[in-house]
Structure formats: structure tokens, C-alpha cells
Symmetry: C2
Subunit: 293 residues, 2 copies
């Protein structure tokens, strides 16, 4: 997906939010925002929004010397999600359609996205769970079940810290030996890294690798050779969240996109309403029901 | 009021919205947005947001050759407000507190602000009217009545086309010979100009002058010498809308600010919630209950 004009205000907002997280020094905030505005004036709009976001967050880390501005937020939501986990697990187990329930809960956890909303809190997560369990799901769990059954090597591209505990519920519905969870190579926004996979215990359940990149999505050209090889060889990709959708929607590969459509640009690109539960198989690059704006 | 970081995404959004109004040529849209991003990277944040908005909308008019991109929107809301006028006038006349009702309706009309929301429609105006008639008013109509009674020369700084019909209801509660309505010198966003004062008939009720400027607010340094003299000599200023608040909140003069707080930055600056009905006297530069962020 390319970058739309509507993405630019959102990227600018992320800039000063991240700058304020790292330091109280207003002179640095202003330097950062001026530098990003200038960079934005020269950006390649054919690249996806996470391409620009990667550069923004790199610059903020460089200018402030803070390598992981969202660390506290990540810890807070890992902890909160682990507290919720037993109850959510019980909901899946009690469900007459456990795969469907697990998919819904994995999507509910996608609300924990500090790029879209820095002020995400526990109440909003609870609301997201109830919404996900009662709203229409744009996608077909049976098609997914068949795809998982046929595949031997499945990459589950994680999105955010905290959210990966919700992903665990979905992963537990699949044969764990087929699954490799992929996290980011180094910190960007509140995206999950190896430390989060370890802290939440998911690393004890499935193999976890990182993609070698600090983009808030999966920009294949920016990933490690090892990850690219794994991606190339995988039978099925489960791509979680908006960043992975934005960076992989044009890649010809069997991909299931699993996300909550939180912004109007992505909702319009997919062809759904903001807030929708999205669970769409790309069917090896064929159209997956989405329309392009 | 200075420009806050939070204003920048909003100004960028206005940029592509206005560019799209003027032309379907995507190359021009992109040129405009790149130029504005570069200008924003160098902007003086001590100036008010309308200072930057003035430059943005000037550039768009220059680059597209369209001198009045919001003309259709202005015509539409002039027409719509004139249709509503008889019913609103009756509401004021039937009211036990006609001044209070007229103030509320004048504030309701401030929803017609294409800078804040390009997609304002008739339903939202109706909702704004009902909200204004039933919600708390942050300000004291009695203090205003006394100030009007003492003053001989009152400038009413208008905000938007369509909205000026709502202003008429408030102006009708004051001695018309004391009032001069001030419109913008040339088109910017959907701000009212002389053509709008004429089209809506308000020019038949009170003297109408323009301020000689194309800023979406009242930047005194940018106004005509004649307007500056009138401003200096006036006993009382009634400043309508966010743009006039942003540009005059630090000016030492007897000013009543009459507006709907539609954005979080202004609401926080005033010390109220978004959506509040604001009717505040500045008491010649003294603090008027607002807090500064």
C-alpha cells in the first residue's frame, strides 16, 4: 500500500508524541518535528507508511539517545495482557467455535497500537474485546483452517507488545510445531521484539525469530537475509496488524491479514468500516475482497 | 495564541483538502503538499495557527489559479442558513431570555467551519443548534449586555459564510447603529467576505467593512490601515470563532470571544471541553478564566 496524503498528518502526530515520550526538552521536540516535516516534504509516496515511520522513529532515537521510547508502554501492556490471559483462554475453551473466538480475540488485541493511539488504556482494551466477540468478522475461519492444515511452515508476523498474548490464543488453535512467531529486529513504536516474546512466555510455546528490521511492518527489502529466506520458503503467512497489511498487501504470497481496521485510510483500502474485524486471505496475490483507493 | 505541535497535522490536512477542492490534478496536489511541508518545517511557532493557514491557502490559490476554492461551500451554507433564519428568529422572539438564546444560536452557527471539518453538513448544523440550546454556556450574558450598553462603537468580527446569518440573530439583540460587521478582505477557507454579507442581507441591517486581510482570523499587522484605526478606536470587540480567538487572545482590548470550541488545542487553551459554548469577555487583557497550556 502506498502512502496517502491522509497518512502524513498521522505520521507528524506520531513524531511529536514519540519525541515527548523520550525527553521533556522542548528544544529537542522542535528540532525533531522540523526535521521530520522537511523529510516528509521529500518522501516517496509510493513507499508504504511504515517506511516513513521507520525513518521518523530512527531519527527520534538518534536525536534523543533513547533506544526504546515505548519500553514502559510495552511492559505495561505485556503485564496487563498476561493478567487477562487466563480469562480469555477460558472464553476460547468454553466457546462452541474456539477457532473463531481465538481469531476474534487476536484481533481485539490489535487495539494495543501506540502508533494509532498513544493513549490506549486498559478500558479501551476491554471494550475492544467485547466488540470483537459480538461484531461481524470480515473473513472465513474455515478457509483459514484448511490453509493451516495444508501448510507445514507457517510464519506468524507479530505486531505489538501486549497484543502477542492475544496472538497466543490463536496460535494455540494451530499445531505449534508448524508455527514460527516473527518479531521486530529492534525497537520501533510499541512493536513486539524478542524481549517481549520472552517476557510473555510465548517463546516457550513456539519458535520465535526476529526479522532483522526496525520498520513498524514488514518491509522485505529491509529485513535480514535469514528472515527473507524463511519468508520465501514459508507455506503460509499470518500477518498481524495494520503495519504488516500496509507493507505486505501487494506481495504475492499466501497471506492471512488479521487486524482491526483502526484508521480510515486502511479501512477504505480494504473496503470496510473503521473498527471492523479484518481476517482476509490474500490467496497468493489475488484480490481478497478489498478495494484500492 | 502560539501554534502548538498539535496544530501542524491539522494544517497539513487542510492543505490537501483545499488542494483537492480546487483541482483534480494529483500532480498539483502533491506539489502543494510538499511545498507546505517544507514551509511548515521552517514556520515560526510563536505566530498563531491562522498565520500559517493564511500562507497555506495563499499558496494553494497561487498554484491552482483558483481564487476562491470554498465558494460553493460558502454559497451552500449562506443559502441553508437563510432557510433556517425565520425559524431561529422565532425561537429568539419566543424565548424568555432572548439575548441568551441569540448568543447560543450565534455559537451554534460556528460549527460551519470548513477549516476544522470540510465535511460539515446540514444535519451537523441542526445538531449544533439543539446542542447549543441545551448545554451550559461558559460566560455571562449580563456582563455582555452591560458592555454593549456602555459602548458606542462595536466591531463584530465575523467568522464564516452561513454562520453570519446566525450572527444576525445576536446583532438584532443590540442597537444596530452601534455595530459594524467586519468580514475578510479576500477569500480564505469559508470565511465570510463582503459578497456573503450582501448575499445574506446582513449588509442591509448594519454597516459592513472588510479588514483588508486574507488571514482566517484577525492578524492586526496584516490588516488594512483603515481597519486597524477602527479596531483601535472601537469601544468593544465581539470576536467570532476560533480563528479570531487564536489571533486576538493576547491582544489588550475589550473583547468578547464567541465560539464553539471545536478542537482540543483551543479547548485546552481556554480551559474547557471540546464542544463547549464559549462566550468570554477578555476585560481589557485581564485573564478571562482561560488557562494557558
Amino acid at each position: 500500500m502506498k502512502t496517502y496524503f491522509e497518512c502524513i498528518p498521522c505520521l507528524i502526530r506520531q513524531t511529536f508524541e514519540a519525541a515527548r515520550l523520550t525527553t521533556d526538552d522542548k528544544a529537542i521536540h522542535e528540532q525533531v518535528i522540523r526535521k521530520i516535516l522537511r523529510a516528509a516534504s521529500e518522501m516517496n509516496l509510493r513507499e508504504s507508511p511504515p517506511f516513513m515511520a521507520q525513518r521518523i522513529h530512527r531519527l527520534i532515537r538518534q536525536m534523543t539517545g533513547d533506544n526504546d521510547p515505548y519500553r514502559d508502554i510495552k511492559d505495561r501492556f505485556n503485564h496487563f495482557a498476561l493478567e487477562l490471559y487466563p480469562e480469555l483462554k477460558e472464553r476460547v475453551e468454553r466457546s462452541r467455535t474456539p477457532l473463531d473466538t481465538a481469531i476474534r480475540l487476536a484481533i481485539a488485541g490489535n487495539i494495543i497500537d501506540s502508533g494509532v493511539n498513544l493513549h490506549i488504556n486498559e478500558t479501551l482494551v476491554h471494550n475492544s474485546i467485547e466488540h470483537a466477540l459480538t461484531s461481524p468478522l470480515a473473513g472465513d475461519p474455515e478457509q483459514f483452517r484448511k490453509a493451516v492444515s495444508k501448510a507445514n511452515d507457517i510464519l506468524y508476523l507479530a505486531d505489538n507488545a501486549g497484543e502477542i498474548v492475544f496472538d497466543r490464543l490463536l496460535i494455540e488453535q494451530m499445531p505449534s510445531e508448524k508455527i514460527t512467531l516473527v518479531v521486530k529486529g529492534s525497537p520501533v513504536i510499541n512493536d513486539a521484539c524478542l524481549a517481549d516474546a520472552q517476557a510473555t512466555g510465548i517463546a516457550d510455546l513456539v519458535e520465535v525469530i526476529d526479522n532483522g528490521s526496525d520498520a513498524p511492518g514488514t518491509i522485505l527489502d529491509e529485513c535480514s537475509e535469514e528472515f527473507k529466506r524463511r519468508f520465501e520458503n514459508a507455506d503460509l503467512i499470518i500477518a498481524k496488524g495494520q503495519g504488516n497489511y500496509e507493507t505486505l498487501s501487494d506481495v504475492k504470497k499466501d497471506i492471512f491479514f488479521v487486524l482491526k481496521a483502526k484508521c480510515p485510510v486502511i479501512a477504505h483500502h480494504i473496503g470496510c468500516e473503521v473498527g471492523s474485524l479484518v481476517f482476509l486471505g490474500s490467496a497468493r496475490g489475488k484480490d481478497y475482497g478489498g478495494k484500492k483507493i
